[in-house]
């Protein structure tokens, strides 16, 4: 049986198009992608989605269970907290802070880290070695500790928590992007570009950037995951978002004492964090596979 019947007159697909065509075949990853888009939309436009204001108290319906449990009602799908505030609305707002914060951090750290990493990889001598040792030292400080230091200095607040997490994740990201770029630099075609007399920027833009897609997807995914976990952790410990703000971690912390009375209040935010991380990871894993297969 002949498979290639007729001359293949399709245009040669662009690499990105090719990756996309591979990605499309991975159903789970595509589903994850759509879920991610939904999540991002929710976190961007949370105030327009929620049925109730996250701060609106209702003394008549305190500690309602979710609607499928006896005693719950459909007005509050996920029930209410101890002040009668709607859990679903608070969850959406929590997503806005947690997921939104993580996105901002990822974007910020991603760009800055990539630039510094590239600069470190492309320069040699004193500058690079100073950067190196500084990175070594910073990497030896666990992110939670550096976040605690920065928050102690600046004082606890949501913004400061984002800044602290960015700063504590930055060294890790620089290191990973540096390693990825350096690995790429040792390859033959980079030498060829260098021999062409390309400038550093040109080398980076055309030689390196298109070829570190796979490691970049991995480290950005990791960065994002860590950012979410850190935001929630700091929120939980009381160093992040302060109380009226409904960050997911601080939601869990503030409902902890109610765990025997209304375990849903602790369960749902945790599941939300869990789901967000799973979705992002499945998406990026699918993307990574597509990139890998595309390169093969």
């Amino acid at each position: 049986m002949l498979i290639n019947n007729g001359f293949n007159e399709d245009k040669i697909q662009s690499p990105l198009g090719y990756i996309w065509s591979i990605f499309k075949t991975k159903t789970i990853a595509v589903v994850a992608m759509w879920l991610m888009i939904v999540l991002i939309i929710i976190s961007l436009f949370a105030p327009w989605f929620v049925p109730h204001s996250p701060l609106a108290q209702n003394p008549d319906s305190m500690l309602l269970p979710p609607y499928w449990v006896e005693g719950g009602n459909t007005n509050h799908i996920l029930g209410t907290d101890d002040l009668g505030r709607d859990s679903l609305s608070r969850l959406f707002h929590g997503l806005q802070l947690t997921l939104g914060g993580a996105l901002i951090i990822t974007l910020l750290v991603g760009i800055i880290g990539m630039l510094i990493g590239a600069a470190a990889a492309l320069t040699k001598g004193v500058k690079a070695s100073v950067l190196h040792h500084l990175l070594d030292a910073l990497l030896a400080i666990p992110t939670l500790l550096s976040a605690l230091i920065l928050i102690t200095i600046f004082g606890p607040s949501y913004t400061n928590c984002l800044i602290a997490i960015s700063l504590s994740l930055l060294p890790q990201f620089i290191r990973s992007s540096f390693l990825a770029i350096e690995q790429e630099l040792s390859k033959q075609y980079i030498v060829a570009i260098q021999l062409d007399g390309a400038t550093k920027t040109r080398l980076f833009r055309y030689g390196i950037l298109p070829n570190i897609l796979e490691p970049t997807v991995t480290i950005i995914n990791r960065l994002f995951t860590m950012a979410i976990i850190e935001i929630a952790t700091l929120g939980f410990l009381g160093f992040g978002a302060q109380l009226p703000q409904t960050e997911l971690g601080s939601l869990i912390a503030s409902s902890m004492e109610l765990i025997y009375l209304s375990p849903w209040l602790v369960t749902f935010p945790g599941i939300a964090i869990f789901a967000v991380i799973i979705i992002v990871n499945v998406f990026s894993e699918g993307l990574r596979h597509a990139v890998l297969e595309g390169e093969e």
Binding site: L2, I3, N4, F7, N8, Y18, S21, I22, T25
Partner: protein, 336 residues
């Protein structure tokens, strides 16, 4: 008598863009005791053919063949276990870049030992005895030493105690050959054994292979992209283009009366090297490029580049065989 007889071997690979037929009806007939050259440009599918012979293909390959016999065993119908009995004992393989084909975490000694025939229980018992009583039995050490000497490694002790990354490519290849001949197989497949080696080492290796063929009567299948180099030691040759075996025959038949335009073009490059051209004249090549694997033409894959191609070439030509000289071409012509 044919040691290896393959007819109409096809390999399809599943990719994201659908199935691609990478090997299209390749045929290979290797005479016992001969040196057979399988010649084609890089990416023409030589290695794929050997992988199919060895049965080392991935799960997303579909291998079909009308006939695939090694001596009297049908290679296409072997179970895993039966195949393992043949590999290493009846067919051995030598690869290009030999250092990467040696386990980096084991010393050469261990690696060679592992391919030697399995110890019987009696031998093992003796081995234990040696350790206790220092009884002098004919040890494996001696066996290994002999092997290494056979492939021309003199300082065997030093080499045996090395890790692969401490040795040069040439020595590694010799070790590989030593491991390949350890079980005196009937067929040795050498997959571009000299690529990326210095000229001196290259000729050493070739001489070694030639010697093996002459002394032990081992059949050799040498895969190469270098027509000039390989043709010198080959008794028979098969040319591959884009997964299709285009022509195959004895040295004399190929060199003297090549029928396929691709073979002829190869010969032209060879002859042009021997006879001096005019000053500043262009060296001969076929026009065009090798198509990429997802853009293969139908029918005769040389079609778009063939100087004699016609409409009918979009169909795959049938195999024509005359006195062991076979080719696939709609318009075969002998060039004087």
């Amino acid at each position: 008598m044919a040691l290896l007889d393959i007819r109409n071997l096809s390999i399809d690979i599943d990719t994201a863009q659908g199935k691609i037929r990478v090997i299209d009806k390749a045929s290979l007939n290797i005479v016992d005791g001969s040196i057979h050259g399988l010649i084609g440009e890089s990416g023409s599918g030589k290695t794929l053919i050997t992988k199919a012979i060895l049965g080392l293909h991935n799960s997303n390959w579909t291998v079909t063949a009308d006939r695939m016999f090694l001596g009297k065993t049908d290679l296409s119908k072997l179970t895993h276990k039966e195949r393992r009995q043949i590999l290493g004992k009846e067919i051995s393989v030598i690869f290009q870049e030999p250092s990467s084909y040696l386990d980096p975490s084991q010393k050469i000694r261990v690696q060679i030992e592992s391919v030697l025939p399995k110890k019987t229980w009696k031998q093992r018992f003796r081995l234990i005895l040696t350790k206790i009583k220092k009884v002098n039995v004919q040890s494996r050490r001696l066996q290994i030493k002999e092997l290494l000497h056979k492939v021309g490694i003199q300082n065997d002790v030093a080499v045996l105690n090395c890790f692969p990354h401490q040795l040069s490519e040439g020595v590694c290849q010799k070790v590989m050959i030593a491991m390949a001949i350890a079980n005196s197989p009937r067929l040795i497949i050498a997959d571009e054994p000299t690529t990326a080696m210095e000229a001196v080492t290259q000729s050493q290796i070739f001489r070694l292979l030639y010697k093996l063929n002459q002394l032990n009567n081992t059949t050799l299948l040498i895969l190469s992209n270098n027509f000039a180099n390989t043709s010198n030691i080959s008794d028979y040759m098969t040319l591959v283009y884009c997964g299709q075996t285009v022509e195959s025959g004895s040295y004399k038949q190929i060199m003297g009366s090549a029928m396929h335009p691709y073979t002829q073009s190869m010969l032209k490059t060879l002859i042009n090297n021997v006879q001096f051209n005019e000053h500043k004249a262009q060296l001969y090549t076929l026009p065009g490029n090798i198509p990429s694997s997802n853009q293969l033409p139908i029918g005769c894959r040389l079609g778009p580049r063939c100087p004699r191609a016609q409409k009918i070439c979009v169909e795959n030509p049938t195999l024509t065989t005359k006195k062991g000289h076979s080719f696939r071409c709609h318009y075969p012509t002998k060039v004087s």
